[in-house]
Amino acid sequence: MNKNHFKGTGRLITLLFRQHRLKIILWLSGIIGVSLAVALAYPELYQTQDDIMGFAMTMNNPAMGALVGSNYALEDFNIGAVFASEMLLFTAIAVAILNILLVKASTREDEEVGRVEIIQSLPVGKLSYLTASILMMLVVNIGLVLLLTLGLTTFGVAIFTWESSLLYSSILGITGLVFAGVTAISAQLSSTTYGTNLLSFGALLFSYAIRVIGDVQNETLSLFSPLGWATRSAVFVQDDWLPVFVLAGCFLVLISIVFYLHLKRDMFAGLLPNRPGKERASSFLKTTPGFIWHLEKGKIIAWFLLIFLLSAAFGAILGELETYFADMDIIELFLADSAGDNMTEQFITLLVAIMSIFSIIPSVSILHSLKGEEMAGRAEHFYTRAVSRNKILGTYFGLSILSAISMQVAISLGLYVTSSQVLENPIDLMTLLETTLVFLPAMLLVIGVALLFVGALPKFTLVSWLYVVFVFIVLYVGNLLDLPTWVNDLSVFQHVPAYPHETIPWNTMGMLTGVSMFLTALGFIGYSKRDIDG
């Protein structure tokens, strides 16, 4: 390849690091911090081999296998395996998301808004900006691998040997790089940042979904998913490095394809054709809600499909779960600490809780896009016309609630369409709807938090995302981290009953809604008082 194509890459890496360093530092500290906290908590929690076996029982079944991709034989479990079972897949997904966000921002987004054009007018190679972005990701992921390895070996118990810790961290790093490559390719295919996002997150979802089905029904299928490979190294037990090499090979292939595609296209162009837009605005589009719906509908529809498909994938494996639980003998059930309860239903409750956190993402994102409009200087277009601030914010708020409800319906429908085919005692749709909609007051509260920041404190909107992450961490590993009760209670999902096992505490639900109303009101007041930025 022409050496000139890479000219100036070094300086561009500096530029990209300066632009993104805060994001990188926050994400890496978050990922490493949570990993180390959990790694430290486990030995306290599981002191005897019996404790570990108890955990192994809950992990070593198709349900958890599907959810977290745990792939250890029952007799192999040690404290490292416990850690990897619970942490590896979700951390890998977090790393993948970091990679997607950074690559998207430093490829298609910079090109779409014209930053790449400025660079390309300098004596800089045609592939330099792209290469700088990829090299930045190499540094970020290798940095993660080294820091996490160091942290685990320094602070972890004996099982966290150099080799195992390095393997564990490397799986995270290399999975991240594969998704960096996937995103870089998406950026060549689509001519917009929005499309790049859609393709990359779609690919991540797809990898997860085929791994879910593959792990439960057909192992080979999982080998088509990077996440399938990521969970197949038996780290801390056999320490198999093959998945890392396979994923590294996959990364190299992706990168070569990216370079090839990039040289084939014009600046600003994508390789996929664009659909021409409509020439005229419909009368619905001319109303405020119509206009905002038009801006946000892509997001809502994409997330609806995403959540529906993911739920359907889980619904599809419920049949195997049912059989499995039916075969388990009483002793095992007792060990698994769930005697008497319907395990399938219990699993659904956990699943719905996790899915509901994903459901909240589009709602928060819709509110944040009002701030985005402001930053881009487009909010002016609203306010120079005779539209009140309350009406604009109110419309975004309404759309955000609508989105939350739709996503919960998507979970119910997704679980229902597949599970009704495979379960011997199908769960009816009504029960599923109740199970998901019981999360609404909690979701309203998160929406209230987001609205408060967008409305009154737009500089700190990041806090809403941090809160969503916090809720997820408390839900997923909160009981391990030994946090004070009041900290756990700050997470609104802690107050949602495990329906249908528990009855609905209406006063708590009312409280949540009340707090949500209060935050929302503050947001509206703040919004009507503050300056509009653009």
């Binding site: 014209g114 930053r115 007018s121 300098l122």
Partner: protein, 302 residues
């Protein structure tokens, strides 16, 4: 000798032909105006020239080197200012200017940099997310002028600048010309082009419809007049150089070829002027008339 040379350039976006056999030459030491309405193909031509878009047909070169294949070598001597700037929000204006200069292999000229910042009254310590549109534009203008280039390619560079800054920018361009630099200036503001340019190309719907020196294109530059006088003006209607004369009592509107302005003013002054205003023609008017004339000519031939 031509520094910039475009021969029969055709560029398509899918089915849509954005440029059709475009020809353009810019000689050393001249300022060449590239004018046309929005969507005419100015930016597309410039991006092909900068090796960002690949030509479908035709030859495009700067310094005799191929614009696509030798872009890196060419760009060492070329400075570019695009029309709207989006910079890296977390970097300061000063940082961006430094980085852009460092990416040329030249040592940034500190004195020049300081001088330009002062000239354009630019505060380099703010983050790019905080700058207004005009200030972002200044970052690019300073970075381009501080570089030691032979060719300057400017795509509607003054959009977003206030009139004072615009004037300073134009003065600086004339200084560069005196130093023998070659400049391609795209614009849709006719007055800007008239003030600065030696030669002009006019592009419309992807085709260059006129090219030449300003004098050769003089017939395209008429002034719009609006007058109100005590008595109705009579003899103007049939005077040479006066076009599209319309009268409504004591008020009249008409267009005047530049070289007849003086005679027309003398005539008007005899009628006790109450109100007189003149405006430069809008580019669109020019194109409309250009096409009318062409069609008339075509009709004559039949």
């Amino acid at each position: 000798m031509s520094i910039i040379e475009i021969k029969d350039l055709t560029k398509k976006f899918g089915q849509f032909t954005a440029l059709e056999k475009v020809n353009l030459k810019v000689k050393k030491g001249e300022i060449h105006g590239f004018i046309g309405p929005n969507g005419a193909g100015k930016s597309t031509t410039i991006r092909v020239l900068l090796g960002m878009l690949k030509a479908d047909a035709g030859e495009v070169s700067i310094f005799g080197k191929d614009a696509w294949n030798d872009s890196v070598a060419i760009h060492e001597q070329v400075a570019y200012v695009p029309g709207d700037a989006n910079l890296w929000p977390n970097l300061t204006g000063g940082q961006v200017i430094d980085l852009l200069l460092e990416m040329r292999k030249q040592k940034p000229n500190e004195e020049k940099r300081q001088h330009l910042m002062k000239l354009f009254e630019f505060d380099p310590t703010k983050k790019c997310r905080e700058y207004s549109k005009g200030n972002l534009q200044k970052v690019l203008i300073i970075a381009a002028f501080a570089a030691d280039a032979d060719v300057y390619i400017l795509d509607e560079p003054t959009s977003g600048l206030d009139p004072l800054m615009e004037r300073k920018f134009q003065t600086h361009l004339l200084e560069l010309k005196e130093q023998g630099k070659t400049i391609l200036l795209s614009s849709h503001i006719l007055s800007e082009v008239e003030r600065l340019c030696d030669t002009v190309s006019i592009i419309r719907k992807g085709e260059v419809i006129e090219t030449g020196t300003l004098d050769e294109l003089r017939h395209l530059t008429r002034m719009n007049f609006e007058t109100e006088t005590m008595q109705p003006i009579q003899e103007l209607e049939n005077m040479p150089g006066v076009h599209q004369f319309e009268q409504d009592g004591n008020k009249s509107t008409f267009q005047v070829d530049k070289e007849f302005t003086n005679q027309v003013i003398q005539v008007i002054s005899q009628y006790e002027v109450i109100h007189l205003s003149s405006t430069s023609p809008k580019l669109e008017d020019l194109f409309l008339r250009y096409y009318e004339e062409n069609e008339e000519r075509a009709d004559d031939h039949e």
